[in-house]
Amino acid sequence: MTTIVICADHGARRVAVPGTTVLSAPKLCWHPGQLAGLVPPEETSLVLALHGGDSATGRVQAAVRRIGFDPLGVGVVDLERIGDSRSLSIALAALSARIGAFPGSRPEQVKLVRRPTRTTRRSLLSLGPPAYTGAPAIDESRCVAHDGCRACVSACPADALTWGGGVVAYDKTACVACGICVTTCPTGAVVNPVVTPAAVEAEVRAAISASSEPIGIRYVCAGGPSPFVPGWHRVEVPCTGMIPVGWLLAPLALGAGSVTAAICRESECERGLSARTESTLADASTVLDAIGIGAARVEGDAPVPRPLAAPSAPSGLFDAGSTQRSIVALHEGFAPGPGFVALAAADTGSIEIDVATCTACEMCATVCPTDALRSANVADEVRIDFDPRSCVACGQCVTVCPEIDRGAIRLDRGFDVDEWRLGRREVRRERTARCELCGKPVAPAAMLARISAVLGDEHSGTLALIGRRCIDCRGR
C-alpha cells in the first residue's frame, strides 16, 4: 500500500488516487519530521507532494530515512510544477507506479549531490543535511565487457567509466549521474536505482491510464527549469541527454498523444548534453515521419492530439533495445517500410560485409554484445549471420575488424522495417580448410589467402603447412 502525503502550505488540495491513502500535512516542506506521526509503520511505499524541493531535499531525505524508508525509493512531486488537481492526481498515480518498480539501492548506488554553485566542503556540510541521488552499478552477470563491449565507456560524458582487461571500472567521484550509461548498455547491465527502464515504463503507463483525456509525456531533467504545461505529464530523469529514441517512441505505442524531452539551454546544462537531447529528438522525428505517423507527435506542442489508434503495447518496451521494439510496435499495421532510414545517433543499425575483403575471422561475431552478429562452423564452412532487430549500433564489430582499413565491414546507423521483417540473414559464408591429418577446421580459406598475400612468397612453405594442418597436428 502507498501513502501519499501532500504539503498543505498554500491550502489543501483534494485529490484521490486509487489504491493509495492520501493525507495532507500543513507546512510539510518546512517540517518533514511530522511524517513520523503520519505514515503508518506498516506502509511500504511513500509519495510526497512538496513545494519546490532542491533546498529541502536533504531534510526531507533525512526525515523519510527516520521512518525507515530508503529516500531514493520515495517519490517526490513538485507542487510548483503542477497546475491543477487533475494533473496532480495523474502525477501522484504515475509516481506511485514508478516507486512500485523501485529495485532498492545498494551503498555503491548512492551518491552525494554536489550543488553546482556550492561545491565547497563548508557549504556542503554546514548548510543542512546532504542530499543523495542514485548512481550506476554494473551487474557483472549481465555485463559483456569481457567480450570487448565498452558502449557505456564511450557514452560517459565524465570519463567516470573505464575499460581494462575485460572489465569496466567505475569512478563514483567523477560520475555526474546523468544516466546515459543505463540507456546505452546493450544488455541492461548498468543499473541506477532512480531511473530503471521498468520504473519509467511503469510511470508512463500509469500516467496514460490515469488520464481520461489525451496526454503528452514530457521528459524533464530532475531539478531542471522545465515549467508546467497543461495536458502534459512530466517524467523526471537525471538528464534528458540519457533518453534514447526508443523512450520517445514507446509512450506513443502505449497510448500517449505526444511525447517530447525538455532541452536545457546550453548555459543551463550542467552536463553539456543538450545537443545529445536535440539529436535524439531529431532522430525520433525522422522515424515518425518515415513510418507515416508524423513528426508533430514529438514536437512538444500543446494541445495534445488524440493517441494513435489501437496502439500495440508489449511490456519491456523501455528495456535495452527499446528503439527497435518501439518502432516495430508503432509500425505494425502501417504501410510497407520506406526503405533504409538513416538516423544520426539512434541505437539501431545495419551492417554490410564486403565479401571481397572480409576474411571471415569471426571477430565481429565474437564481440557483438547482443548477438546481432553470430557465427557458426557448419560442415566445411564458416557462416556469419546478422539480425538487424538486435543491432544496437554500438560499433564494436567495426572497432575490432582487422580488415577495417580495407572496408570489410560497414555499420549504418538507422533502420529498415522491411529488413526487420525478413529477420536474421546470412551476411558471410566461407569455405573452411580442414586438417589433412585429423580433419578439424584449420581456418577460413579467405583468411589463409590474406595471410599468404601479406607474407608473400618468402614464407610459402610455412603457409602451406599452416593451411594444411590444424594447430594440434603441425608438430607431427
Binding site: A63, T120, R122, L125, P130
Partner: protein
C-alpha cells in the same frame, strides 16, 4: 550540521562497527543499545548509512550472546580450511605463500606508528584485523574532531583518513562484507557487514570532499 559534529558521528559509527566485529563480549549488547541515541543526536539520519547502521544495532540488541559467539567462531575463526570470511586484511591483499603477510602487517604497524598510535591499538586483535582497522579510523576521526574543536588545522587528520581508507580499508573491505553476507547464518553479522559496507562506500566519496580546500561562494 558542523564538520566537528560530522567527525564525532563518523567516529561513533566506526567505533560501533569495531566493537561489533570484535569477539562478542557481554558489553556488546549495551554498546549497541547505547549507540543509537548518541548517533541520532549527532545527526545520524542525515546520512545515507543511517538505515544499515540502525538495523545492525537493532540486530545486536536482540541477539543472544552465545549465538553470537557461535556465529563469530563459524565466520571469523580459522577452521581446518581457514576462516569462512577471514577478518584479516592480509588474507585478501597479501599472498601468504610468498611471505607477504608478515611484511604487510609490519607495514600496517609502521602506518599506525606514523599516525601516532601505540602498539596497543586493537586490544588483543592483530594489526590487520577488521576491528583494529576500524578502531584506527575511529581514532583518526577523533583526531580530526579534536583539531577542529581546538581551532587547529584538521587537514592532517583528514589526509590520514584518506590515506588509510584508500590504502588499507578499501582494497579489501567490500570483498570481506560480501563474504560475510554470503556466509552468515546469523542476521547480526549480515546487518553489521551491510552497515560497514555502507559507511566505507559513503566515506569513499565524503573524505575527498573534506580534503578539498575551503572556497568562497
Amino acid at each position: 550540521m558542523s564538520l566537528a559534529r560530522l567527525g564525532r558521528l563518523r567516529e561513533g559509527v566506526y567505533r560501533f562497527a569495531a566493537a561489533g566485529f570484535s569477539y562478542p563480549a557481554s558489553e556488546l549488547v549495551d554498546v549497541a543499545a547505547g549507540t543509537v541515541p548518541v548517533l541520532d543526536d549527532l545527526g545520524l539520519f542525515d546520512y545515507a548509512f543511517a538505515l544499515p547502521v540502525i538495523e545492525a544495532a537493532e540486530a545486536l540488541v536482540v541477539a543472544d550472546l552465545h549465538d553470537l559467539e557461535g556465529a563469530y567462531a563459524a565466520l571469523f575463526e580459522a577452521g581446518v580450511g581457514g576462516a569462512a570470511c577471514s577478518p584479516h586484511a592480509t588474507a585478501y591483499v597479501a599472498d601468504a605463500r610468498r611471505g607477504e603477510v608478515a611484511e604487510a602487517q609490519a607495514e600496517l604497524r609502521a602506518t599506525y606508528r606514523g599516525f601516532g598510535f601505540g602498539d596497543d591499538i586493537g586490544g588483543g586483535d592483530m594489526v590487520d584485523h577488521v576491528a583494529t582497522e576500524l578502531e584506527v579510523m575511529a581514532r583518526l576521526c577523533h583526531d580530526e574532531t579534536r583539531r577542529r574543536a581546538e581551532n587547529d588545522d584538521p587537514a592532517v587528520a583528514v589526509r590520514r583518513q584518506h590515506e588509510f581508507l584508500t590504502g588499507s580499508l578499501e582494497p579489501w573491505i567490500t570483498m570481506f562484507c560480501r563474504r560475510v553476507c554470503d556466509a552468515d547464518r546469523h542476521h547480526a553479522y549480515t546487518a553489521l557487514a551491510a552497515a560497514l559496507h555502507a559507511l566505507v562506500e559513503h566515506d569513499r566519496e565524503l573524505v575527498p570532499l573534506l580534503l578539498a580546500p575551503v572556497g568562497c561562494e
